[in-house]
């Protein structure tokens, strides 16, 4: 187990380093120049030589490799530089924004898990009957509706029409409900199919015939025999979906006026705010890697066949 974790951590570090190079290259090669934007902001874009002056001021005139090494050295110490847009240290903005995005993803992950298990089990318990068709229909709708539209519907339904939840803001659990639901819809739909299909496959397997021959009832078979068999598959799928929630957050956070990492990232991209974009990408990547590590460990715990290879 320890061996597994240490090996995976080493891989993760290498991956992170590689990813930072890719991020850096992408951001640097993106069109647009932050120096021009800053000059515009200061109303001096027409002054000859001013843009070059700004470039020198913020270090854009240095060679690329040096810029990368400088940035990496600072980032390793937790200093993500200064936002070109606000002039504030990125690392000062980050903790609160990470907390906001963390709240969004954690709540949505829990809702998506519960909802998908409920829908999947409903379908598996009454296969091809009404509950199954309803669950399948909901999954189809949920998986094919764009998230920004889901968010708008949520606001229209729960906030404007019924006035149950506030339509924006990050002020305590009541204000968290709509963003949570909005982000949870797509993963819940996808995962409910994973549960339903996994259970169906398990229910036609020989060990379930054995369980039937033992005189176990349908409920006992579903929960005791089939569920433990789909757990590793479900955890894998859940991990992917939770990773993707960072991307959904970029859309949903601005929609609900949440100052999360996704919102920060979007603002950074708009302003070619290299330091902010780079920091956000690194946070997303780290999150992905950590989620994957947790998923692998959880699968290790739930599947004795994989566990043996590492113990």
């Amino acid at each position: 187990m320890i061996h597994f974790i240490s090996k995976r951590l080493k891989h993760s570090l290498a991956l992170l380093l590689l990813a930072s190079v890719v991020c850096f290259t992408l951001v640097v090669s993106a069109p647009g120049n932050v120096a021009v934007l800053i000059a515009e902001l200061r109303g001096a874009v027409a002054v000859p030589g001013y843009v070059a002056q700004v470039e020198e001021e913020i270090g854009l005139n240095k060679p690329l490799l040096m810029r990368y090494v400088d940035w990496l050295g600072d980032a390793a110490r937790g200093d993500f530089g200064i936002s070109y847009r606000t002039g504030q240290a990125v690392s000062a903005d980050l903790p609160h924004r990470m907390m906001v995005t963390g709240t969004l993803i954690a709540g949505s992950a829990v809702i998506a898990t519960l909802l998908s298990l409920l829908l999947g089990f409903l379908g598996a318990f009454w296969p091809y009957k009404l509950p199954d068709r309803v669950s399948r229909g909901l999954a189809l709708i949920g998986a094919s509706t764009p998230t920004f539209f889901v968010g708008a519907l949520m606001i229209y339904g729960f906030s404007v029409t019924f006035q149950l939840f506030p339509s924006f803001g990050f002020n305590g659990p009541v204000s968290w409900v709509l963003p949570w639901l909005t982000v949870a819809v797509l993963p819940a739909a996808v995962l409910s199919r994973v549960v339903r299909v996994g259970l169906e496959e398990a229910m036609t397997s020989p060990y379930v015939l054995t369980a039937k021959s033992k005189g176990l009832g349908r409920t006992a078979i579903l929960f005791r025999e089939a569920l433990p068999n789909i757990t590793p598959v479900f955890i894998n799928a859940l991990g992917t979906q939770v990773g993707l929630m960072t991307a959904t957050g970029i859309i949903v956070e601005p929609l609900f006026a949440w100052q999360g990492v996704g919102d920060y990232f979007l603002a950074g991209v708009r302003f070619r705010d290299f330091m902010v974009v780079q920091a956000c990408l690194l946070i997303f990547l780290t999150f992905f890697i950590v989620v994957n590590l947790i998923v692998d460990l959880a699968v290790l715990m739930t599947d004795p066949r994989i566990r043996r290879q590492w113990s």
Binding site: P127, M203, T204, S205, P206, Y207, L209, T210, A211, K212, S213, K214, G215, L216, G217, R224, E225, P228, N229, T231, T302, D303, P304, R305, R308
Partner: protein, 331 residues
């Protein structure tokens, strides 16, 4: 009714209705099994031997509609028409099942101890702790070394033979009166086959259970069974005591089967003797004897009407063959 057999099947017919087709894998079969007796059901793949035993007990895959007629009496109770919750109480408790492939018959992510113990909890009203103790007893009973460690292991950690012993231990956990073993040795190594068969036979005698042994291995039949039913294309071709049927087979199909067993006198490198032709597909209706197209002795009456299973010259053996029954000479 002390004399009533434990299991008495008469004129059982099973129709399977899927979305696209209807087939009849079991067509008017009758047999009985008494306490302490072992009945072998022999036939080639697709002859209906498994469906015949599983369908009346509700062990059919979901999505298939099963329609049963005839009678299956177990312990004085009619099983056909019994609602599923009632049949479920019989499964595992009064009737234990052993399956062909022990590699897939055990749940791969659950500990072996739990898989055995849950039977005792369910059917003998035991506490989890008492059930664990019973699981240990059973694992010892089926001759597994290091039983305490085995209970904590997962199926993939054991060999095929050990797993089949676990499956047997599970089947015994509810103290069944009848064991139904569906090709219990087919998926095992030849050397292990004999051990498992001996174990089954020994347990059956010691616990005074009845046993239905579904197989296509004549060696298994000779070693373990008291009576035999030979199935061909959903019907019983011949039925009787093993010593009589194996020594002097009457039905041409049974003869062909026994003749196909390689003999010690066969010269090395000689060809296998098989039955010519292929078995009919189920679902295609046929009027007469299903075996007639492959039979060396077939006469026109064979294809005219279905031959009934009637006593032969020796009253304990029943044969469904007009040629044998007309002449009474082939015996």
């Amino acid at each position: 009714m002390h004399d009533e057999p434990l299991l008495s099947v008469s004129n059982l017919t099973v129709d399977l209705l899927t979305a696209k087709s209807a087939i009849r894998p079991v067509d008017g079969v009758s047999y009985t099994v008494r306490q302490g007796e072992c009945l072998a059901i022999v036939g080639e793949s697709g002859s209906g031997k498994t469906v015949m035993n599983f369908a009346p007990l509700g062990l059919m895959p979901t999505g298939v509609t099963t329609s049963l007629s005839g009678s299956v009496r177990f312990g004085g109770r009619e099983l056909i028409g019994l609602p599923e919750p009632e049949i479920r109480k019989i499964r595992g408790k009064s009737i234990g099942f052993i399956f062909q492939d022990p590699m897939s018959a055990l749940n791969p992510v659950r500990r072996i101890g739990r898989q055995i113990a849950e039977m005792a909890e369910l059917h003998l009203d035991m506490t989890p702790r008492a059930a664990e103790a019973r699981a240990l007893e059973l694992v010892k009973l089926v001759g597994i070394s290091d039983p305490v460690a085995r209970l904590r292991q997962y199926p993939h950690e054991l060999s095929g033979g050990l797993r089949q012993r676990i499956v047997i231990a599970t089947a015994l956990a509810g103290e069944p009166k009848l064991l139904i073993a569906d090709e219990p040795t087919t998926a095992l190594d030849v050397t292990v086959q004999a051990q498992i068969l001996r174990l089954l036979k020994d347990l059956q005698r010691r616990l005074n259970m009845a046993m239905v042994l579904i197989t296509h291995d004549m060696g298994v039949v000779a070693g373990a069974a008291d009576n035999i039913v030979v199935m061909y294309a959903a019907r019983a071709a011949e039925r009787g005591p093993v010593d009589k049927v194996l020594v002097t087979p009457r039905h041409p199909y049974t003869r062909g089967l026994i003749n196909a067993i390689p003999k010690r006198e066969d010269p090395i490198g000689s060809q296998f003797r098989g039955l010519p032709g292929i078995p009919p597909t189920l679902g295609a209706p046929f009027k007469g004897c299903a075996f007639a197209p492959r039979c060396d002795f077939a006469v026109p009456t064979c294809t005219a009407s279905r031959p009934p299973l009637v006593p032969s010259a020796d009253g304990s053996v029943f044969v469904a063959c007009p040629v044998v029954n007309e002449g009474r000479a082939a015996a």
